[in-house]
């Protein structure tokens, strides 16, 4: 048996890792071979001498520190989970904000085509009947979300709308309790952004939005419209951001930076 193999066997013996048969063989060799007995004694001394260096007991604070760390970690995870859920929406923002809005609008448009009579010249306002205008305004105030979406969808298809409708849409954008309605309304108003009143209304709406989705969607719209007047309200929004909402905050900061560099 080679020296290394033999000494590893001695170590295994000292750590009680040998089978009964192996142990018997080794003990037999110990009794019959003085050279091996000497080698055994040296390895044993070296191995057991290490016991002088046994580690002290871990401090009593260790568990408390661990529990504090675990609690912090759990809180971070919960927070990140919330952020990632929001970001999962934002990550697909081009698809979600607009594609989802379009999907809702398609549903709305289908309903609108049944609910409202078609207006031949694509204009609501001066050329539309007051009856139609009243119907739209009334529907925007409906208790049913789908009805409000239908009304917004109907308006969205028109090239020109009068101030009454614009005011109603801006009110919906700021105050509708349903985020999907507000999102569809934003899309409808975005298409009317050539209108100065609409642009101004969109800028003013920034301070009315309380959900991160709408805040980021509006910031995105401002960037697309290159609307520099939105910088200040966006900065105000940034100040109100929870310090932990790093990802939303970062997105808003980037929007401000880009708008300032225009």
């Amino acid at each position: 048996m080679e020296d290394i193999e033999l000494e590893i066997k001695i170590l295994d013996y000292l750590q009680e890792r040998l089978s009964a048969a192996e142990r018997f063989e080794l003990e037999k060799l110990l009794k019959t071979s003085p050279a091996f007995a000497q080698q055994f004694a040296e390895v044993k001394q070296a191995w057991e001498g290490l016991d002088l260096r046994k580690a002290p007991k871990v401090s009593a604070d260790s568990k408390t520190n661990f529990q504090a760390m675990l609690r912090t970690f759990e809180m971070q995870q919960e927070h990140q989970s919330l952020i990632s859920r929001i970001l999962a929406i934002f990550r697909y923002k081009p698809k979600y904000n607009w594609a989802y809005a379009i999907a809702l609008l398609c549903i709305g448009a289908l309903g609108a085509s049944i609910f409202f009579r078609p207006v031949s010249n694509n204009v609501i306002g001066d050329n539309a009947t007051s009856e139609m205008q009243n119907k739209i305004l009334m529907t925007l105030n409906s208790d049913k979300t789908i009805e409000r979406i239908k009304a917004v969808s109907y308006v969205r298809d028109k090239k020109n709308v009068n101030d009454n409708i614009i005011n109603a849409l801006l009110t919906t954008l700021d105050n509708d309790p349903n985020e999907n309605v507000r999102l569809v309304t934003l899309d409808a108003l975005f298409k009317l952004a050539d209108n100065a009143k609409v642009r101004e209304g969109l800028v003013n709406s920034i301070s009315h939005q309380h959900t991160e989705l709408m805040q980021v969607a509006l910031a995105d719209a401002m960037l697309k419209l290159q609307e520099k007047r939105s910088v200040n309200p966006l900065k105000t929004l940034l100040k109100k951001q929870d310090a932990d909402d790093d990802l939303v905050k970062k997105q808003l900061e980037q929007t401000v930076q880009k708008l300032e560099s225009i």
Partner: protein
Amino acid sequence: MDQLADNALMLGVKNGELYKMGLLFDRYQQPLFGYLFHQTGHRVESEDLLQTVFYLMLAKRHTFSPEGEFRAWMYQIARNALINSAKKSNRMIYKAEFSDEAHLADNSLERNIEVNEDRVQLDAAIARLPDDQREVLILSKYQEIPYKEIAQILNTTEGNVKVKVYRAIQELKKMHKKR
């Protein structure tokens, strides 16, 4: 230790039951602290590293595979934490600052002095060992981990581990012969 139970607990942690890490902490805080203490020779640093290792296990829980052994995975993380800590402070892992009163037995003054001298010699011998030999010695002697599992932790062969243990023992034998 019941490896199956360890794996089941860690799998729970991986699946979001983070509180189960508390059970693993109860089970492994002392052995892991011992490993870190023997590696660094420094109590306070080892306590800090202990927390770091458990934090890293939480953060890297997705890398745990239930087909592997929890203990080997844990020591791999601990090893990397040690290496990174040494890199950050730009020093060797082993600092040989053993000075713990815990090692002084409740004996006579003479006996304590004798023990202390032995320990100083042992510290010097351990400090002289190459890092890889010291590491296998610690894992084998103090952690009582079988060679096969040490090989898994160090990503090497069982034969290589045995050779390193053998060489480390030769160095310690030399120390004892000189006395």
